[in-house]
Symmetry: C4
Amino acid sequence: MEKETVRMEGFSDAIFAIAITLLVLDLHVPDKETLSSSAAIIGYLTSQWPAYVAFCISFFSIFIMWVNHHKLFKQIYSRNTAITFANGLILFFASIVSYPTALLSRFFNTPSANVVVAIYTGMFILINLSYILLWDIASKDKSLLRPDITDRAIKKIKLNYLYGLPVYMVAFGLSFYSPSAALVLCTMLWIYWAMSSGKLEMAN
Amino acid sequence: MEKETVRMEGFSDAIFAIAITLLVLDLHVPDKETLSSSAAIIGYLTSQWPAYVAFCISFFSIFIMWVNHHKLFKQIYSRNTAITFANGLILFFASIVSYPTALLSRFFNTPSANVVVAIYTGMFILINLSYILLWDIASKDKSLLRPDITDRAIKKIKLNYLYGLPVYMVAFGLSFYSPSAALVLCTMLWIYWAMSSGKLEMAN
Amino acid sequence: MEKETVRMEGFSDAIFAIAITLLVLDLHVPDKETLSSSAAIIGYLTSQWPAYVAFCISFFSIFIMWVNHHKLFKQIYSRNTAITFANGLILFFASIVSYPTALLSRFFNTPSANVVVAIYTGMFILINLSYILLWDIASKDKSLLRPDITDRAIKKIKLNYLYGLPVYMVAFGLSFYSPSAALVLCTMLWIYWAMSSGKLEMAN
Amino acid sequence: MEKETVRMEGFSDAIFAIAITLLVLDLHVPDKETLSSSAAIIGYLTSQWPAYVAFCISFFSIFIMWVNHHKLFKQIYSRNTAITFANGLILFFASIVSYPTALLSRFFNTPSANVVVAIYTGMFILINLSYILLWDIASKDKSLLRPDITDRAIKKIKLNYLYGLPVYMVAFGLSFYSPSAALVLCTMLWIYWAMSSGKLEMAN
């Protein structure tokens, strides 16, 4: 059975690649005029630490989105309209990650940190839901999947996304009390996903 | 018969992917200095709703352009100079979608909404015409197409693009009286296309 | 014989695609504050005509660069270090086209039109030379080429690039006397290349 | 044995291609208002020479990163989680090259040249380490590599990256005394790599 989703994967990869590379555009270079000494430049650059933190976590969150996308589409062999548009929804969110990231980097060390972290974690709830939706659509019709996939593997993938949901929701709630803790929680989930991604693959 | 259009499709996919991802650059992040409270940020962000609406409809319109491009090139196996440049015209319009989108997002809730919606819907008339042109060129010479394509399928694809034309023209005319209605009409056409795209594929 | 240049072509295609799509970033959207009426927007947009002209000719010149790149690499099956870096030079120029384009669009209807058109046409001399260099390197060692290529085809491709050189040089010289005429000359060359590209392919 | 890393290479190529093309966004076009004569434009453009130098060396350093990536992945046939994330680290650095480049281009001819050249060369130490890490992970488990690779080739590749490290460290140290010399040293290393890359390939 031929894999029908090659061009869809290529298109998705391109969007993930562009979204991840555009993040750098929010690292601002200071003006020549305002900074006239080495100390001033170093001071400016260190004051930008929220932008660097935001860049790092957004870079690796899109990277993990890509890794997950890759793993899902290793199991999906055919496509229908529903899969095409559920995938479009994932790409929609991938392409806007840079916007909440820019908000986060600019307002994290201000009194408005709560708002921007809530938007940031809220976005990941939506991203998580879009992956659950894609896999739900794909796994409902086994003729779309890799012919030799087991029911156990299908369920394992489903659970892998499902347990992300409560974590993101806790992070979202937490962002109103402790924005830093909310970001740490998200980062821990990604590290867990990165480290467990090998095991998931073996299960399929 | 080998498919000759692989590199052309890869190049087109890359342009669609970049065009769709660059749309996010028109979502502006407010300055730290001007917004000093959570309420001010929320106020700023909600005032940006035309930008979000414009982003969404442009994202999905480029996405549907890509889906359609994908479907057409599943039928086109060879290429000639005319197909190369008709495809170039489609890519030309895909790459400029962000410009009318930026105009739309910035001027939709001003007295100039008519002008920017007319430009926006006018662009879709041109996009529609460029797809009609590509398919016209391709279907005139059956040696360029998938060997087992039926005349019925060729005609069905042609009709699918042709009935978009009057809808876009009505939307263009409508934009001078009710810009919102014009945008709703375009959106409805895209939802119809998205939902009918499965049927179209079956017909081929 | 397996084609070894697939990844190099994919990388080149991506750079051409990004370079061609980034051109739109130089089409500026007016500020909401400065333009308060429909007439003011229409006035602003029409005053931007040099930007639209520059966008169009740069878009199609990169597109023709891609078409030519595609044709050359249909003949090149292996690669060595020299080909890799001659190709890198072509990609270098492809990625900077947007800069002279931006200069052109901003200064074409000023007294400095001469300078910016000279830079613009000068860049195409360099682009032309980089294509000549690539083909020179490739055709010096026939083991790098498609096994069944004829000497006549090799020469025909070489001539195709060589006659571009004097045209661009005339355009460069002309830019100091009549910038518009220099641009028209470049555009005519591209139209000729586009129309003759079919014939070239047949000859191979 | 089938190569498993195709989609990872495609994704990496896209990121390299975007990172290399975004560099042009830091070449600034002067405002129409501030420059009213041809002489003023030429004066502005020539004053921008550090930006052009920075653009050139960053362009070719990313290009050489891509060439090296290409060579490594010709030897890597399978992937595991560690390779995926070591590759992610390389892509992380590839995507941020434009930021130190922008700092370099803006502050090279100021008294702060030391700081920005130290950041720039420091980044290449990190990039070098990430390549060493990737190859270390890959070569620890020969089942991940091209089946017929020799131990001599594995070691040769390792050495090729290892001797870059002291050069970059000297360049980093040098940047505090003579920023220009530090940049010249980096450039010389890249020219050496470019010229020796053919030999490396033959050894595999």
